[in-house]
Subunit: 586 residues, 2 copies
C-alpha cells in the first residue's frame, strides 16, 4: 500500500502544534455555523489536520470555503490558546451535550483532564498548541470523508474534514500542486484512461483484471524479473493457490493470521484455504529430500498470487487489494551464509527499483518486537547480521525498534515516486519460526541435521502495487521498454495504409509493440490520440514517406525528427529498449 | 487426462468377440480355483478384457499365472460356446448363489434373458462370442485392481482381473513391450527421478508443486506459447483466481457444473469460489467498453490456473489433477469471422503440438447433444462453419455425433505419444450460451448491437497434463530446448574445477542452462549421473581441455566428439535450441 506517513524530524514540532491548533479553529468555525454539531476528535496529521463531526446534514464541497472563511476570521482575531486542568466531574458538566467527548472523558485515566480554550471554544485536549490563533499560517480545507467513531464499524459514522497547513503560502501552494499532480496521476484514473486494468463489483472488490495493455507491462516486468533472478542463482518454481488448512495450522498462520485469510472450503471432508502467502509450498518442496550443506543456499523464486482478506473500506485501486501477485522468494541457507545472502538481496532490490526509475528510498531495519518466537541469542545474532549486511552494502538506514515480525528481524525499503509519494517496496525478513515448525534442516559437514536459516523476500512487493507506483511515478508516460504500445503508426490518408502496415510488420518482427491507427480520422486527431495514450513514438506516414521509403518520427514530448530510413529509427528504439532508457531521444 | 479409448474400426469386431470370450474363460478358471467365487461382470475392453469377482481372499500377483494356466487348459480343450434364452424365473434359479447376477437379471427389461455357456460354466450374457474356446489366441493376465460393484462407492468392493488378448503372439508381445515401456516412462516415476515436481498429501492431493527443473521446462513452454500467441494477434491478460458465486450463477456454471466446483468462501457476507475456468473474467474485461465491429476479433489469452473438484480416486499424477493451468484463450468475433478464426486456431494448435514433437493425432468434431442451449439454426450454421474450417485446413476428421457441449459444437484433437498412448490435447469450442447470458455484444456497421461469436480454446490443454505427455513421449530425454539442464560440466579432477566454472559462466551468458558437477566423484560416476538426469550434452574437462582451452563433448546417447573450441560447441547447441531440434547431433 502507499505509505503516507514518514517519521517527522524534530524541527517539525512547531508545524505539528500549528496544525493541531488549526483543527481546533476549524472546530470552532464549524460550531459557529452548526451550533448543534457534536465533536469527535481532531488531531494533526502529516501535512495538516482533520476533525470529525456529527452534523445535522451532509457537508458538500461548497461548505468548505465557508468554514475556511470563518477560520480566517478567527485567525485574524488572534485570540490566545489557554489551557487548564479540571476534574472529570467538571468536564462532564462542560461537555454535557457532547456524547463523544463524554466517552473520551470516561476513558481517560486519573481524576483530572486537560482542556484547551480559544475564545468561546473549549476542547478536551492534552495539547500542545501554539500560543495564539494568529500563529496559524497558510492553510486550506481540502476534502471530506466519512469516518466511523473510533474506527469501529458498529459506531456512528461521523463527517471528517481534512485540511492542510504549512508555514507559508509558498509551501502550501507547492503541496496543493503536488496533491493536484498526484490526483492527475492517480493510478485508478490512469488505469481507466490507458485501459490497463479493471476491478469489477460483479467479480468482487479488490480483485484485479489486467487488460491487454496492462498485461503487456506486467509481462515485461515479469520477464525481466525472472531473467534477473535466474542470473543471480535463483530457481523459479510454481506452487498451487490452495492448500489444506492443516498446513496453515502447523505454520501458525491459522492462529496468528486467520483474520486475513479466506474462510475454508471443504473437499472430501478436508478443509482447504486459498493461500495468503507462498512460503509453505516452498518448504514442502525443499523437504522432498535432505539437502547437504554443499547444496545451500537454495533460492526458490515464484511470482505467486496470494489472497488476503481486507475490509472493503480500505481497498484502494491496485495499491490495496484482496488478490495480488508477490514477486516472492525464499532462501534456505546456513546461518554462516545469511549475511552474504542479505547483501545479495539488497543489491538485487536496489538494482530493481533503480532500473524502474526510483532513485529515492528509505531503508528501515525493524528489530525484535515484544512478542517473539525463537531464542534471544539467535535474534541478536540475526539482527547483527542484518546490520553487517547493510554496512557492507554501504547503505544508510534507520532502526525501527520493536517493529520486526514475531518470527524474525526484517529490512524494509520504501521508495519515493516523482511526486514525493512513498511506496512500500522490497522487504527482507529472516524467519526463525517456520524452519522450526516444519523441521526444515540440512545435513551439515558433521553429518548431523541443522536448522536452516530462512529468508522471505520480495524486491518489488507485488505486481499490482508496483504497477500503481509505476503509473503514478511516470504519470502513465512509461519508459519505452515498459510502454504497452511503443510505436503508433499514423497514416495520414487511406492511401498510406499499406505502407503503414508494412512498417508495422517490420517492427513486429523485432518484437517492437506497434499499433496502426487505421481510423478515418484526420492526422491531428490521430496524433492527439497517441498523445493521450502516451505512446512514446509516433511514426507519421504520408506521401513523402511512401515515396522516399522513410519514416517521420514524433515523440510524445512533441519533439520531431526529419524523415529517416526505418532502419535508423529501429536502431535508436532498439537502443532505448535495451538500455531501459528513461528519456526518449531522437 | 490420458485417453485410452479410441474408436475401433469394424474389422476389430472379431478381436472384440475373442476378448469377451477370454473373459468368460477367465471366469471359468477362477471358479475352478475358487468354487465359492461370486461373479460381477466381464466385458471386452481395449486391448483385452476384465472380470470382477468376489473372492474369499485377496489375489496376489502369484495367482495370475495359476489362473492363466487353467485358462490355457480350457482353450486347449476347445469346447464350444453355446447360447440360449431362458425366462427370468429359470435364470434366478440358475444364479441362486450369485447375488450380483441376480441383481443384473432383475435389471433386464422383458421376460427372458440370454445365457452363454462353455463346458460347465454358464454366464448371463448377450454375447456375441467366438464359436469355441480354441479360437482364443494369444492372451496374458496383467494385473488386478479393486472395483466397486457397479462403480458405486457404497456397494461392495470386488476384485478385478485385467487381461490382454491379441490375434497372435507377436501382437501380444508388442503390446506387452509397449506397456512395459510406458511403465518405464510413467511421468509420476520420472517426475521423481528427474526432480521435476511433487504432490503432497499435507497440502492436498491433485495439487502440483513444480520443482526448479520442472519449472524451467514450464517457463520455456510458457514463453514460447506467449510469443507465438502474440505473433498471431492474441493479447495476454491476467484474471483473478476467485470470484463471487453470483457470477457463476449468471453463467449457469453454478447450476450445471457445481459438482466440479469447490465450495464457496464467505467474504463480508458475499460468497466467493475459486474459478473452475477463465472465461468469465475475460467476458467482464471485454464488457468494460462497447467494441466496434472494426475492433473484432479480440483474442484474450491467459495461462489461467483453475481448480476443479475431482474425486481423489481418479487423481493421477499430472494427468488428472485438482488444480491446473490452462493455456486458455477466448476469441470474441463476428459470426462472419468465425471460420477464419477456427482455421487460425487449428493452424496454431497443430503447429504447437508438432513443435513439441507430436506428429500423430486424431481430430474429432462433436455435434449438437440432445440437451442444448441456443437456436437450432445457429447450431447448424456454427457446425457447418467448423466443418468448412476443417475442410479449408485440409484436415481429416471424424464426427462424434451428439458429443458437443450443451453450449456449442467443438473440435477436439487427441495426439499420440511415442509409445502409442493417446492424450487429450487442443480443444476449440464455440459458445452460444455465455454471450447471451452476459449480453456480450459489439456495435455493428449498422450502429446496432449484435451478439458476438465466442470461442473457448486451448492448444496444449493444461501445463500439467502437457508436461505429463512430454515426459512420457520423450521418456524424460527432452529435446535440448526443453531440457532443464542443457549442459553438464564434468571436471575430471578438482584441478579442473576453475576451468569448468569458467566455461559455465561463458555458457550462462548465452542463457544456456548449465550445471557443474562439483562432487568429489570419479568421472564415470559423474557421466552416469548426467546420463540418469538425461542431460543432452556433457562437457568433460580434464588436463588436455584445460591445456588446449577446448571442450570434449559427449551426448546422452553416448556419442562423443573430439576436443573442440567452446565457440564451436556453443554454435552447435545454439542452432539446436533455436531449431527446437528433436535429435542431438555432434
Amino acid at each position: 500500500m502507499a505509505v503516507d506517513q514518514k517519521k517527522q524530524p524534530r524541527d517539525d514540532e512547531q508545524l505539528e502544534k500549528m496544525r493541531h491548533s488549526a483543527a481546533h479553529v476549524m472546530a470552532e468555525a464549524v460550531q459557529s455555523i452548526f451550533p448543534d454539531a457534536k465533536f469527535g476528535i481532531g488531531p494533526a496529521i502529516e501535512n495538516g489536520f482533520y476533525y470529525d463531526f456529527e452534523l445535522p446534514r451532509p457537508l458538500t464541497p461548497e461548505d468548505l470555503p465557508i468554514i475556511e472563511a470563518r477560520m480566517k476570521e478567527i485567525v485574524a482575531s488572534d485570540v490566545p490558546f489557554t489551557t487548564q486542568s479540571v476534574t472529570k466531574e467538571e468536564a462532564r458538566r462542560l461537555f454535557a451535550t457532547q456524547p463523544y467527548k463524554l466517552e473520551l472523558v470516561d476513558d481517560i485515566d486519573g481524576d483530572s483532564v486537560g482542556l484547551y480554550r480559544q475564545g468561546s471554544f473549549v476542547d478536551l485536549c492534552r495539547g500542545p498548541h501554539v500560543s495564539s490563533t494568529g500563529e496559524i499560517k497558510a492553510f486550506r480545507l481540502v476534502n471530506t470523508a466519512g469516518a466511523y467513531w473510533r474506527g469501529e464499524e458498529n459506531r456512528p459514522m461521523l463527517q471528517r474534514i481534512y485540511g492542510v497547513a504549512f508555514d507559508n503560502e509558498e509551501a502550501l501552494a507547492e503541496h496543493l500542486n503536488r496533491i493536484e499532480e498526484a490526483a492527475r496521476r492517480d493510478h485508478r484514473k490512469m488505469g481507466r484512461e490507458l485501459d490497463l486494468f479493471s476491478i469489477h463489483e460483479e467479480a468482487g472488490q479488490g480483485l484485479v483484471h489486467w487488460h491487454p495493455r496492462g498485461a503487456v507491462i506486467r509481462r515485461v516486468i515479469e520477464d525481466f524479473w525472472k531473467d534477473e533472478h535466474t542470473k543471480r542463482g535463483y530457481s523459479l518454481v510454481y506452487t498451487p493457490h490452495i492448500a489444506k488448512v492443516n498446513l496453515w495450522q502447523t505454520s501458525g498462520h491459522w492462529e496468528f493470521y486467520r483474520d486475513n485469510m479466506y474462510s475454508p472450503m471443504e473437499v472430501e471432508g478436508q478443509e482447504y484455504v486459498v493461500k495468503p502467502m507462498n512460503c509453505l509450498g516452498h518448504i514442502l518442496m525443499y523437504k522432498t529430500k535432505l539437502h547437504s550443506y554443499r547444496e545451500l543456499p537454495l533460492r526458490y523464486a515464484e511470482l505467486g498470487t496470494v489472497y488476503r482478506f481486507e475490509r472493503s473500506g480500505v481497498l484502494h485501486g491496485l495499491s490495496r487489494v484482496r488478490g495480488f501477485t508477490q514477486d516472492d522468494a525464499h532462501i534456505f541457507c546456513r546461518f554462516d551464509q545469511l549475511k552474504d545472502e542479505v547483501v545479495g538481496v539488497l543489491d538485487l532490490a536496489l538494482f530493481m527499483i533503480n532500473t524502474f526509475g526510483f532513485t529515492n528510498y528509505q531503508m528501515l531495519l525493524s528489530t525484535r518486537p515484544e512478542k517473539y518466537a525463537g531464542e534471544l541469542k539467535v535474534w541478536d545474532e540475526a539482527t547483527e547480521t542484518l546490520k553487517q549486511a547493510l554496512a557492507e552494502s554501504g547503505i544508510a538506514y534507520e532502526i525501527d525498534p520493536g517493529e520486526g515480525v514475531f518470527y524474525g528481524p526484517k529490512i524494509d525499503i520504501k521508495f519515493e515516486d516523482a511526486v514525493g509519494r512513498g511506496w512500500q517496496g522490497p522487504t527482507i525478513q529472516v524467519d526463525f519460526n517456520l524452519p522450526q515448525r516444519f523441521d526444515v534442516t540440512y545435513a551439515g559437514e558433521d553429518g548431523q541435521e541443522h536448522p536452516v536459516a530462512m529468508v522471505h523476500r520480495t524486491v518489488l512487493g507485488s505486481m499490482e502495487r508496483f504497477l500503481a507506483s509505476l503509473i503514478e511515478h511516470y504519470g502513465g508516460a512509461f519508459p519505452v521498454w515498459l510502454a504497452p504500445v511503443q510505436v503508433a503508426l499514423l497514416p495520414i490518408a487511406d492511401r498510406h495504409m499499406d505502407y503503414a502496415y508494412q512498417l508495422a510488420e517490420a517492427l513486429k518482427k523485432d518484437w517492437i509493440r506497434v499499433e496502426v491507427d487505421a481510423r478515418s480520422e484526420r492526422i491531428n486527431q490521430k496524433i492527439r490520440q497517441a498523445q493521450l495514450d502516451k505512446t512514446p513514438y509516433m511514426l507519421i506516414v504520408g506521401d513523402k514517406e511512401v515515396a522516399t521509403n522513410t519514416v517521420s518520427v514524433r515523440l510524445r514530448s512533441g519533439e520531431q525528427a526529419s524523415d529517416q530510413p526505418l532502419e535508423r529509427f529501429m536502431e535508436s528504439i532498439r537502443v532505448a529498449i535495451v538500455d531501459k532508457a528513461r528519456d526518449l531521444r531522437l
